[in-house]
Subunit: 457 residues, 2 copies
C-alpha cells in the first residue's frame, strides 16, 4: 500500500515558488489535497513561526470541512513527525511494541499491559499524557506512587529498556513539537473533532516513538470521545492505514466504554486495581482487555503464532508473578516505591470514605453506570482537571461496587466514594445519582467481544 501512495504523490512535482500559504489554503478549501512537500513546508513553517496562527487556523477549518484522503493524512502525519526527533530502537534484539488508547474512564490498562509485555520479552516504552476533563491520565496515576518520576530523557529511556524492558514516561517534548502546537490551535478554533486530524495527531506520536508494532485501543460509547462504534471504526481504520503506510505493523481493537473499565476511578485507586490485576485478583473486564491487546502485540511482533498460545503465555506470566515483579522493577527504576506492588496500602488514601447507596424501593438490577457521569463524579472530588492548570488530588475517587447487570438489594451500596471532605463526598453522590440507572428486570449485558481492525500479515 505505501508504494501506491508514494506513486500517487509523485505525480505532483514540488514547486518551491508556489509555496504560498494562501494558495495552499485555497486548494484545501476547494477540496484538493496538499502534497508531502507542501505539508512538510507548512508544518516546518508553523513550528518555526514563519506561518501565522490565523493561516493555519483557516487551513485546519478547511481540512475539517473538506476532509483529507488517505495519502494526504499519511503525508500530514509524516510532516508532523519531521518537526521533531524520532526514537530508534533498532539496536534491541526483540521487537519493541507500543499501544495507544483514545481514552476512557477508569482506563488503567497501560499499567498492566506494559510490565506484562516486558515480562513476555517485548520491549515497551509507553509515553502517556495527563488527564483532562472526565478522563484520567496515566502520568497522573503513576505519580500517586511516592517518588515516581515520569520525565525521562531519551537516553534514560534507552538505558532502562535495555535493563528491564519497559518504561512508563511522559511524552518527550523533543518528539513531534508540531503536534503540540497544532493541537493547542485546534483547541481554540473548533477544529478538535476532525477524524483525519485526530488520526494524524495520534499516529505522529506513535511513529516518532519508533516501535514497529503498535496496537490501538479505540473506545466508543458514553464515556469515550467517540459515542458511536461507526465513528470509532472509521478512526481505527484511518490510524491503521497511516501506520501501515509508514511501514509499521498496526492493529486496532474497538472496545466499549459505556461503563468505566474495571471498578476504580481515581489515581491511587486505579494503580491499586492495576496491581491487583497483575496479581490475578483484578476485575474481569480490565484483564480481558489487557489480554486482547497483549495477544495482538505478541501476534503482530511475531513472538507468537496463534492467539490461543499468546493468551496462555500471558496468563502464565500473570500467574507466575513475573508480570507483577516487572511492574515493581519499573517503579524502582523510575525512582518510585516498589513496595506498593506487594502492599498497595502504601498508596495515598482519602480521609473520607462513604458509600452511595441504592434507594430503599424495590429495584433489583443495575441497568447502567454511565462512564462519563462517573468520570464527572471523580472530577467533582478533585480527581481531575477542568483546565490545564488545575491541581489534582491523587487519593480521591470512586469504587464501583455494582456495575451493569449486577443485582442490588434496596439500600445496598452501589459505589464507594473516596473524598477529601464530607461536602465533596455529598457533591459526588449527587453526580452518581444521575450516573446509575436501576431496573426491575436484569439487563442482559452484551457479551464482551472485541472487533479488530487491520493488522493482517
Amino acid at each position: 500500500m505505501s508504494g501506491s501512495l508514494d506513486a500517487h504523490r509523485a505525480e505532483r512535482p514540488w514547486d518551491p515558488a508556489a509555496h504560498n500559504m494562501v494558495a495552499l489554503i485555497a486548494r484545501k478549501r476547494g477540496g484538493g489535497a496538499l502534497s508531502d512537500a507542501e505539508l512538510g513546508w507548512l508544518c516546518q513553517g508553523y513550528v518555526a513561526g514563519r506561518i501565522p496562527d490565523y493561516q493555519v487556523a483557516a487551513w485546519l477549518m478547511a481540512v475539517c470541512c473538506r476532509g483529507m484522503d488517505e495519502a494526504e493524512t499519511l503525508a500530514l502525519t509524516r510532516a508532523m513527525v519531521a518537526t521533531g526527533a524520532t526514537l530508534d530502537w533498532s539496536h534491541l534484539a526483540a521487537t519493541p511494541v507500543d499501544k495507544h488508547s483514545t481514552g476512557g474512564v477508569g482506563d488503567k490498562t497501560s499499567l498492566v499491559l506494559v510490565p506484562l509485555m516486558a515480562a513476555a520479552g517485548l520491549p515497551f516504552v509507553k509515553m502517556s499524557g495527563r488527564g483532562l476533563g472526565h478522563t484520567g491520565g496515566t502520568l497522573d496515576k503513576l505519580e500517586s506512587i511516592a517518588g515516581f518520576r515520569t520525565e525521562l530523557t531519551p537516553p534514560e529511556m534507552r538505558t532502562q529498556v535495555e535493563r528491564i524492558g519497559c518504561a512508563l514516561v511522559g511524552q518527550s517534548p523533543e518528539l513531534v513539537p508540531g503536534d503540540k502546537l497544532l493541537y493547542a490551535l485546534r483547541d481554540v478554533t473548533g477544529t478538535v473533532d476532525c477524524l483525519p486530524l485526530i488520526a494524524s495527531s495520534i499516529m505522529s506520536k506513535k511513529l516518532a516513538a519508533g516501535a514497529p508494532v503498535v496496537v490501538l485501543d479505540v473506545k466508543f460509547g458514553a464515556g469515550a470521545f467517540m459515542r458511536e462504534v461507526e465513528t470509532a471504526r472509521e478512526l481505527a481504520r484511518a490510524m491503521v492505514r497511516i501506520g501501515e503506510g509508514a511501514g509499521r505493523r498496526v492493529r486496532a481493537v474497538l472496545s466499549a466504554m459505556d461503563e468505566p473499565l474495571g471498578r476504580s476511578v481515581g489515581h491511587a485507586l486505579e494503580v491499586r486495581e492495576a496491581i491487583e490485576s497483575l496479581h490475578g485478583r483484578g476485575p474481569a473486564d480490565l484483564w480481558a482487555l489487557t489480554l486482547e491487546l497483549g495477544t495482538n502485540l505478541l501476534l503482530l511482533s511475531g513472538a507468537e503464532r496463534d492467539a490461543r498460545g499468546a493468551r496462555q503465555r500471558l496468563e502464565q506470566l500473570q500467574a507466575s508473578g513475573a508480570a507483577a515483579e516487572r511492574f515493581a522493577a519499573l517503579i524502582e527504576a523510575q525512582g518510585g516505591d516498589p513496595g506498593v506492588v506487594e502492599d498497595p496500602d502504601r498508596l495515598p488514601a482519602a480521609p473520607v470514605v462513604t458509600t452511595f447507596d441504592a434507594p430503599q424501593r424495590e429495584v433489583r438490577w443495575v441497568g447502567s453506570a454511565d462512564a462519563r457521569r462517573i468520570g464527572e463524579a471523580a472530577l467533582a472530588l478533585g480527581a481531575g482537571r477542568r483546565t490545564k492548570d488545575d491541581t489534582i488530588d491523587l487519593a480521591v475517587g470512586i469504587r464501583l461496587l455494582r456495575k451493569t447487570g449486577d443485582r442490588v438489594e434496596p439500600g445496598e451500596p452501589l459505589a464507594e466514594i473516596h473524598a477529601r471532605t464530607d461536602a465533596d463526598a455529598r457533591a459526588a453522590a449527587e453526580v452518581l445519582r444521575a450516573a446509575y440507572t436501576l431496573e426491575h428486570e436484569p439487563a442482559t449485558p452484551a457479551p464482551v467481544r472485541y472487533e479488530t481492525v487491520g493488522g493482517e500479515g
Copy 2:
C-alpha cells in the same frame, strides 16, 4: 421581507454566557447559523481586539465552506455596520442616492454618473477605493486632476452636498472599520472568494454611507471579478436582499466586462474620457451604462415614474452642459482645477505615445479585446499597483482604437500606448498582443442589454 427575517431570528434568544467563540465556530462548522447578537458580539470583539485573528480566520473558513443564509448574511452586514459610524442625510430635501460597481477595466462610470445625478437633483456622495491589480480605482483617477482632494471628513461632505449636491471621496475610516479588518484577514486566509462575505462587505459600506437608494453595477466576464453571469446574478441577488432587508431601495444592474468599458484605460486618460462623455462626445457603451444606472436611480428615488422619461431627462442634462458644469463644480469644491472640464489637455500626459498595430496579414475584424489582459498591459505601463504600497503613474495607459466587431486593415493601429519610456511601451505591446484576437469574419457583438435584479416597488 425584513419582517419575516426578524421573526426568524427572534426564535433564538441570546444567552451572553454561551458567547464562547469556539462554540460559535463549531456551530458554523456544523452548518448552523449565528444570531444577530452573536454576530454583533463577534464583530465588536474582533474590532476591539478581544477575539484573536486565528479564531476569526477559522470562522471565516467555516462560512466559506458552509455558507450563510439570507438572514445570517443580513445580520453579519448589520453587525459590521455597527462597528463604526453611519452617515445621516435625513436633513436633505431630496433623496440621496448611491452606487457601487464590483469593478472592471476602464470603468470610469462614477465620474460621469455622480455629477449627472446631482444635476438631476439627487444628492450623491460617492465613496470609492483605490485600484489594485488589473482594475483601476476612482480615487486614483481623480488624483490625476491637479490639486484634487479625496479625503473629506463627514462634515465637509455634508457641507459640499448641501452646496453642490455631490462629492467623490475616499472611504471614510470612521465607517465600518470592521470591514477593513475582516477584509485584510480574508486576504491572507484564502477566504476572499465567498459570496455572502463579498455581499456583506459591499453592502455594509453602502448601509453605513446612508443613502436610501442604491444601484449596484455587478460586472461579469473576462475582466470582472466574476467570470460567469450566473455568479454575478447570485451576488446581485444577495446584495439586493441585504439592502432590502435593511430597508433600502436597491436594484442591481448586471453588465458585461469582457472588453474594457469605453476606450481608455489609465487614470488621466479615463478622466478625459469621462469628461468627453459628460460633453456628449464619449464612447457609446460608457454613456449607455451611465444612463442605465442613472435611470434606475431616478426611478427608485421616485424622482421619475417611467424609464423613458428618466432617460430623456438625463440626455437633456448632458446636452445642456448641466452635467459637465456640475463636474467642474465638484472638482473646484474639492480643490482641483475645474479647467480640465473644458480643457482636458491640462491633465497629465505621458511622454511616449506609440501605437500597437494589427499584423500585415489579411485579418479584417476584431474578434475580442480581453479586458483583463488590457488591464495587465496598463499595469505593465505603471498605471496600477501589484501590491498595496506600489506608486502609480497617472499619465500612462492604453487607448483602444478598435474594439470587438470593428473592422481593421492590415497594419492599422489597434491601440495607442501612452508610456513613460519606450521600453515600457514595448512591454505593454507584448501584453496587448495576447489581448486582441483578430478574425476573418466579423463578430456579431451581442446587443447591449442590461439585466436588472431587485428594486420592485
